[in-house]
């Protein structure tokens, strides 16, 4: 299967700080990918590198087999909804559709108008007067109607109320079902992504900590509780992600290639949210100088 995004050792530095370090990914096509991590982890940087708004400091990145933003044809294949879903406040909704039609050869005007109609947006209204949810939907419409092969979204629902969120994600999933488009959406909340993603990337403190199909990740991670253990004595096939010990008890989050049948442990499956939290705390313990914000609300 072809990859929608392939990066090798990708890194981006601003003055002295590395916003993204040694990022090597191969995201397969046909998935809804969740990019999750605390604020400042590098999610926006990665997405901006993928859209060509930034140039890498180190390493390479290829999107849909081409270099990001290298040509009009390449730009036409990737749709992007930036953080805070920017729109032109002075232009009307209809003007935005005209913008899309003029600047995109692959623009599907019928699709755009149908969407605007279903959303109940007034074409004559200035975009600056729209609510947050309506603005997000307009930005999404602009990205979808150019019929891209890949849709990138940077925390599009972060500041929306729950109903607006549900509506937005509903439209996004409908598009994923209808068009042959892969989706990469970032968020600092796992709850936003849980319903919609079948591929997950965890980014903490400028590095990729975890990447893979959700089904496979959930099947290969286990929470083990049992009497106090020294982690050095664990079987070699177990990769300890997170551990916590009291004087009597040990609780571990492990990644194992094979099912765990050890009677000395109580084995439970791990939910996606706890999984991500485990990797976030693993990153935090490995980098004591900076504790990333951890958010896991429902």
């Amino acid at each position: 299967m072809t990859a929608v995004l392939e990066s090798s050792g990708l890194g981006k530095r601003y003055r002295r700080r590395w916003a993204l370090t040694d990022c090597t990914l191969r995201i397969p096509a046909g998935h809804v990918v969740g990019l999750v991590g605390p604020n400042g982890a590098g999610k926006t940087t990665l997405l901006h590198l993928a859209t060509g708004l930034l140039a890498p400091t180190a390493g390479t990145i290829r999107v849909l087999g081409g270099e990001p933003a290298s040509s009009a044809a390449q730009l036409a294949r990737v749709g992007f909804v930036a953080q805070d879903t920017p729109v032109y406040a002075g232009l009307s909704v209809a003007d935005h559709l005209r913008l899309g039609a003029h600047l995109n050869p692959g623009w599907d005007d019928g699709l755009a108008r149908r969407r605007i109609g279903r959303l109940g947006l007034d074409p004559g209204q200035r975009a600056g007067k729209l609510s947050g949810g309506q603005r997000a939907q307009l930005a999404l419409t602009l990205a979808i109607a150019k019929r891209p092969e890949l849709l990138l979204l940077d925390e599009p629902i972060a500041s929306l109320d729950p109903l607006a969120r549900r509506d937005f994600l509903g439209v996004l999933m409908e598009t994923a079902a209808e068009q042959q488009v892969s989706v990469v959406m970032s968020s600092h909340l796992v709850a936003d992504l849980e319903r919609i993603c079948d591929y997950l990337i965890v980014l903490v403190d400028s590095r990729v900590r975890l990447a893979g199909q959700v089904d496979e990740l959930l099947a290969s991670h286990h929470r083990l509780t049992g009497p106090r253990h020294d982690t050095a004595t664990l079987p070699p096939g177990w990769q300890v992600v997170e551990e916590s010990h009291t004087d009597r008890q040990s609780t571990l989050l492990i990644r194992a290639g094979t099912p765990v049948h050890d009677p000395g442990w109580v084995v439970e499956p791990v939910g996606l949210e706890d999984l991500v939290l485990g990797y976030m705390s693993q990153a935090a313990s490995g980098a004591p100088a900076r504790r990333p914000e951890m958010e896991a609300q429902r």
């Binding site: 859209t51 933003a69 930036a82 920017p86 232009l91 005209r98 995109n104």
Partner: protein, 345 residues
């Protein structure tokens, strides 16, 4: 892309059109009135008679006496310096910075148009409109004030403080120079925006740099665009307009210049060796008799050295100046293009 550029620029374009229309009406009325005054002053037929200078002076005095037309004249000149500055500040600086601050850059640069095409179209379209606006305003003011310019070209020396069109303040408010200024100010504004990335600081920097250039240019660069004419004439004691003496015998003498329509760069009284005459003052000048002093000076083999740009060089200078400012604008444009290509927004 042309549609989007126009749609974003629409309001500013209409404001400019309105301002130009208002200026056009004002200048049309003024220009017709001045032309009428000029025709009735007799200057048009004075060449054979030898008293053109006097007629011209009368005409200019008449114009200066009217507060209204005097004010409009001054405003028309000021307007041609203010207009390019406004273009630079309000059209140039926000071109890129507004989109950076609103985040809409991230929307625009993900449509199917490369960022180089985006900046190229914006720079070209708005830049051309800026040049057209500057040119149009320059044309209107030049036409409206042309009777005054023609009269001023025939007078010299004292009278109403009106100068000929080649002198610094007027030069920039005439002919095709405003086209160059508008293009330069616009490109300067966009460059400031691209480098500074915030609207208000970019506006401030644009204003500061443009003002500095407009002040420094006529003093430092324009005089040397064409090598000035240096003419040495015999010292005429009858044309002394200034004398100053200090203790120790030092003195400086200033004589009038009779070069109608010229831009005088320097006017010195030099001694036989060719250096500026600084004394010593002849004995006769310590008395209270001016005539005796003048006669004494006349015997010193002094000469008058004038360095000037003749009025006939007006269009040559206009051409050079406009070309240079357009070239500067082009360089700045190229810089912006290169900078935007580098991908770090």
């Amino acid at each position: 892309m042309i549609w989007l550029t126009w749609r974003q620029f629409r309001t500013q374009a209409w404001v400019a059109a309105g301002a130009l229309a208002a200026a056009a009406i004002l200048l049309a009325v003024t220009g017709l009135h001045l032309a009428h005054l000029y025709d009735t002053s007799g200057i048009g037929t004075c060449h054979g008679h030898g008293d053109c200078g006097q007629l011209a002076s009368n005409f200019l005095t008449q114009v200066a006496a009217s507060n209204l037309y005097h004010t409009i004249y001054l405003l028309s000149i000021a307007g041609l310096y203010v207009a390019p500055a406004i273009i630079g500040i309000f059209w140039g600086a926000p071109l890129v910075t507004r989109e950076i601050e609103n985040g809409t850059l991230r929307l625009a640069w993900n449509q199917s148009v490369t960022r180089t095409r985006w900046i190229a179209v914006k720079l070209t379209l708005v830049g051309l409109i800026a040049m057209a606006a500057g040119g149009l305003l320059g044309l209107m003011v030049t036409w409206s004030d042309s009777p005054i310019d023609r009269a001023a070209a025939m007078t010299t020396g004292p009278g109403p403080a009106l100068l000929s069109r080649i002198t610094p303040v007027l030069f920039g408010a005439r002919g095709i120079a405003p086209i160059g200024y508008a293009a330069f100010a616009f490109a300067l504004g966009v460059t400031a925006g691209v480098l500074i990335r915030r609207t208000v600081p970019a506006m401030a920097v644009t204003l500061a740099v443009f003002t500095a250039v407009q002040i420094a240019w006529p003093m430092l660069v324009r005089p040397h665009l064409i090598a000035p004419v240096r003419s040495t004439t015999a010292f005429d004691a009858g044309s002394i307009i200034g004398l100053s003496m200090q203790n120790g015998g030092q003195m400086t003498v200033l004589t009038a210049v009779n070069k109608p329509g010229a831009w005088v760069l320097s006017n010195q009284v030099i001694n036989a060796a060719g250096h500026l005459f600084t004394g010593p003052a002849p004995q006769a000048c310590n008395t209270n008799s001016f005539q005796a002093c003048a006669d004494a000076l006349a015997r010193l083999h002094l000469r008058q050295l004038v360095s000037y740009q003749p009025g006939s060089r007006y269009w040559a200078l206009q051409g050079y100046e406009t070309a240079i400012f357009l070239a500067l604008a082009l360089v700045l444009t190229g810089f912006c293009y290169w900078r935007i290509r580098r991908r770090n927004y």
